[in-house]
């Protein structure tokens, strides 16, 4: 199978070469320079050439109209070749787990480049800057922006900006100056270059590349904070790179003599203009997209197209205005994701997500293959040992120094410090990629006499980082982590306690909060809630955002109905007060009738984050009672389980160890979200149970509580907005609105009465006698956890 595909691949390239040669043969005739005799395809060639040599005398039944289709044919063929290469790469999973896919694609690119060069004696296909920047890069970045975990991104925005701006400037300066110093010292021999050119080179080689970072971090799973740092940095540093590149390019054109303070100040100002201007363009386009999707109800079939077109336009517009195009398209994706996901139809959203991934993946594959092919071109190779080795050394060393320095400063201000291993991974993960190559290929040969040297060096740097660092990243991480783990086996108590500590710390961090951020975040949320959602989202979308409310509402509804059914069965609802347990195991009696309810509930709108309601509700049916004996009892007999192993498998992992959620190739929600959902449901359920049992005057089952004598004052719930908090809710940005079915009512309801409202308004079948008995609650035992419930629900936000 592998052989066949390889042969096919080779055959395709041969075909391409042949076709080209045929074309040239017919056009140019027998000219020397473009028409060398390739050894392998000689016979084919002459035959085809011969056929075309004769003049046309009559009607041709079939003609070979290569020129007609040349350009699109070649493009399509290359896309096909890239796709097939990816297929070849993915054939062997054990290989891809050791060597990242990007490295393998580059190797295939080398092979292909070799074949083409062998056939053509020149490199006919290279990665040109135009093709790269206009046709290959935008979709990759749009994908990054659209799938960006916003909350994580913005919570760590400060650190990301520090790394992106200061870090990149540091890298550029140190590499440039370092190389200059070495050149002055004579380490590079005699090359026609100057300080400014070194600085320019430094600035283009300094930037961490988003394509490469994604490609490598895909294989190495790191915690989400670390991932977002590197990823965010790789995206945002474009602002700096563009400015530095343009500024130094202009300086080189001006010549060293013309540079004075004014020019330098203009350079600094241009940074702000480029960065903020680019972001602004992106945000404007995001607004346009959101507004557009608001109105596309009648043309749902082409809705997805708008996203891509407008995203691309944002890129081009920023490019046109000489602002940062990458920043523009990133912010376009980041800002519009929430609104278009809410506004568009389910299927359109799915379409957008999948097409985005297809385009991004495809582009990435093509980019890496062509990075390989472009290397097989002796015309661009200039070898200068000093220059190349020093560049490699400097970018590596200075990256480490830069990251450690900046992290040391940042850790003073961060609540959750970045640990040593994180810093190592961050430094080591500073990969350079195609963007650097694209920039260097754009240099003007006349101004930069040593352009080829720079191109060669850039290629070597890219290969070094993507391949070597990519391959060794995973072993390095494993080695570091293993080194830090305890050597002796922990006791059960220690294991349990360690996990308890983790959860404890996370809880304390949440309680003590990230002070300073909350105020701004609050303000933003209020603003967003009032104005943006009203402006940018369809009215129907706004209503269905009350996702948690929906779940809880359904929970209550089901409970209400089950109580009523039981009451009808028994004749009256008085049983509730008499039972010692607050819950009756309705499940076993009424499972069949529940199935009627379920389809209605499941037909409800999915929340904006597309976690299907049904998956959560299915979990709920067996747990109307707190007993959890639904498990398989035979497990005990058939398995010889080990307590340690169980703990290993089943302890909740806690937030610190959650993995990053962005992936180039996978779209499903990961285990961490399920875990969080599960914990969340349990907490809410336990709160609800204790709340309900308190209401009904029965002792809560299974809970060991401290006793509280104080009365329960009816709580006046504050408005739906809340002023918390550190991190955001995984179900999406929302403020929790008590909107009833017939119109929003805001969050003014007294929280105690919440379940009552559900019973009263929605169920409509509740026995009024039952309701009256619920009202006197003055002398009830108040348990702290009970009171937690209404507040939590009422103030749900990020």
């Amino acid at each position: 199978m592998a052989c066949r595909t390889c042969l096919w691949l080779l055959g395709t390239t041969f075909f391409t070469c042949t076709v080209r040669l045929v074309v040239e043969g017919t056009e140019v005739g027998a000219t020397q320079e473009s028409h060398p005799e390739p050894g392998v395809v000689g016979s084919n060639h002459s035959q085809a050439g011969g056929g075309h040599g004769s003049s046309i005398s009559g009607i041709q039944i079939v003609t070979f109209k290569w020129h007609h289709v040349e350009a699109p044919y070649l493009i399509a063929l290359w896309i096909l070749v890239a796709g097939v290469s990816k297929m070849v790469v993915e054939l062997n999973h054990s290989l891809t787990s050791v060597i990242p896919e990007s490295a393998l694609l580059i190797i295939i690119g080398w092979i292909l480049g070799g074949i083409i060069y062998g056939a053509d004696k020149m490199q006919t296909f290279t990665l040109t800057p135009t093709v790269f920047f206009f046709y290959l890069l935008p979709q990759v970045i749009l994908d990054a922006g659209y799938f960006m975990p916003n909350k994580l991104f913005f919570s760590n925005m400060g650190a990301i900006l520090v790394y992106a701006v200061i870090g990149t400037c540091w890298n550029a300066a140190t590499v440039g100056l370092g190389l200059w110093g070495c050149w002055l010292g004579g380490a590079m021999g005699d090359i026609d270059i100057g300080l400014l050119q070194f600085l320019l080179f430094g600035s283009l080689i300094a930037a961490v590349d988003p394509v490469a970072v994604i490609a490598v971090f895909e294989e190495v799973h790191v915690n989400e904070v670390l991932f977002i740092m590197v990823f965010g940095e790789s995206l945002l540093n474009d602002g700096v790179t563009v400015v530095l590149f343009n500024v130094f390019d202009a300086f080189v054109s001006l010549g060293g003599a013309e540079i004075d303070a004014v020019e330098i100040i203009k350079g600094i100002i241009s940074f702000f203009v480029v960065a903020f201007g680019g972001s602004l363009v992106g945000i404007i386009f995001a607004l346009l997209i959101s507004l557009l999707t608001r109105c596309t109800k009648n043309i749902q079939i082409i809705e997805p197209g708008f996203i891509f077109i407008l995203g691309y336009l944002s890129y081009l517009t920023a490019e046109m205005l000489s602002l940062s195009a990458i920043l523009s398209i990133v912010f376009c994706g980041i800002c519009c994701q929430k609104y278009i996901n809410a506004n568009m139809d389910e299927r359109s959203v799915t379409t957008v997500r999948y097409v985005m991934k297809v385009l991004a993946n495809g582009s990435e594959t093509i980019i890496f293959v062509f990075l390989g092919i472009s290397a097989i071109d002796p015309a661009v190779w200039v070898w200068n040992t000093g220059f190349i080795l020093l560049t490699l050394l400097f970018i590596f060393v200075f990256r480490f120094i830069g990251v450690f320095l900046l992290t040391w400063i940042l850790n003073k201000y961060r609540l959750v410090p970045l640990e040593f291993i994180d810093q190592v991974v961050m430094s080591y993960g500073g990969l350079r990629g195609a963007v650097a190559y694209g920039l260097v290929a754009m240099l003007d040969e006349n101004k930069f006499k040593e352009k080829n040297l720079m191109v060669s060096t850039t290629l070597i740097v890219v290969y070094f980082t993507v391949m070597l660092q990519g391959i060794t990243m995973k072993p390095l991480v494993t080695w570091l982590k293993v080194k830090r783990a305890a050597v002796t086996e922990l006791t059960l108590a220690e294991k349990i306690q360690n996990r308890t500590f983790d959860h404890m710390l996370v809880a304390i961090e949440d309680i003590s909060g990230q002070i300073g951020h909350n105020y701004m975040r609050d303000k933003w949320h209020n603003f967003e809630e009032r104005w943006l959602c009203w402006f940018l989202m369809k009215p129907s979308a706004r209503k269905s955002r009350d996702y948690i409310f929906n779940i809880f509402h359904q929970l209550n509804l089901k409970d209400a109905m089950s109580y009523v059914k039981e009451g009808e069965r028994r004749g009256s609802l008085a049983f509730v007060r008499n039972e010692t347990k607050a819950d009756v195991d309705f499940n076993k009696k009424f499972r069949a009738s529940f199935s009627e309810i379920m389809p209605d509930i499941m037909a409800d709108n999915m929340g904006p984050d597309h976690v299907p309601l049904s998956s959560i509700l299915q979990d709920i049916v067996p747990s109307v009672c707190l007993d959890m004996h639904e498990q398989d009892l035979t497990m005990r007999e058939s398995e010889d389980f080990n307590a340690h192993h169980l703990l290993q498998q089943h302890l909740y992992r806690g937030r610190k160890q959650h993995r990053h959620r962005y992936s180039r190739s996978h779209l499903e929600t990961n285990r961490d979200e399920n875990e969080v959902q599960e914990i969340f449901q349990r907490t809410m359920r336990s709160r609800l149970e204790s709340f309900k049992s308190a209401k009904m005057g029965v002792a809560p089952a299974k809970k060991i509580q401290t006793k509280h004598q104080k009365k329960d004052k009816p709580q006046k719930m504050p408005n739906g907005n809340s002023s918390d908090k550190s991190k955001n809710h995984p179900y999406g940005d929302k403020d929790f609105e008590f909107s009833e079915g017939d119109g929003g009512s805001g969050g003014e309801a007294a929280g105690d009465l919440f379940p009552m409202r559900a019973y009263r308004v929605e169920a409509g079948i509740v026995n009024p006698a039952f309701m009256a008995e619920m009202d006197p609650m003055d002398n009830m035992q108040q348990i702290p956890h009970v009171a937690l419930l209404p507040q939590t629900l009422n103030s749900f936000d990020t």
């Binding site: 059960l492 220690e494 956890h785």
Partner: protein
């Protein structure tokens, strides 16, 4: 006011801001609902227990002093100043931290973690697919390992002893209070 907590004035200011942010109705006290509003805590398996730890038995509210006091448990231990025997045990010493952790388990405050209490904690920290039998087995073995006087419960001393190799200071400190 006596602040034997070694919390700097800067920390107090920040914590007060946070206290005020949580105390939406500006009563000067925090109630369980105010903690409940931190919805991240609902995603923490022991979130509700931690909330409970802020409230002394019989208390329904937390004032600022208690709030700071509980949070001060999580300061890294002060290695520079030697322990002064005449002063009361600092809140962030190893013993105090362990006591705090112990109290999370020991809800009925009888000084021992009974099997039932351990089961409760384990249940909340393990995924739902773990069966009751598996749970009880884990609890039994844990008590077996830690229980030295064979009373089928873990006292504070036994708890402390079982964690003597663990770097409590590292595991129970957050940077903010440095």
């Amino acid at each position: 006011m006596n602040w034997p907590l070694y919390v700097t004035p800067a920390h107090i200011v920040r914590l007060y801001d946070r206290f005020e942010a949580l105390d939406k109705e500006k009563t000067g006290h925090l109630r369980p609902q105010d903690f409940g509003a931190i919805n991240r805590l609902a995603m923490n398996p022991i979130g509700d227990r931690i909330i409970g730890a802020f409230f002394s038995p019989g208390q329904e509210t937390v004032d600022f002093h208690s709030f700071v006091r509980i949070l001060a448990h999580f300061r890294p231990a002060d290695k520079k100043h030697p322990k002064d025997p005449s002063m009361p045990e600092p809140v962030n010493s190893r013993t105090s931290k362990l006591k705090f952790a112990f109290q999370l388990y020991d809800q009925d405050k009888d000084g021992k973690i009974s099997r039932a209490e351990l089961l409760q904690v384990l249940r909340s920290m393990l995924e739902m697919q773990v069966t009751e039998e598996q749970l009880e087995s884990i609890a039994d073995r844990t008590i077996q390992e830690a229980d030295l006087d064979k009373d089928d419960a873990i006292s504070f001393e036994e708890f402390r002893k079982s964690l003597e190799k663990v770097n409590i200071d590292h595991k129970m400190s957050i940077r903010f209070l440095r």
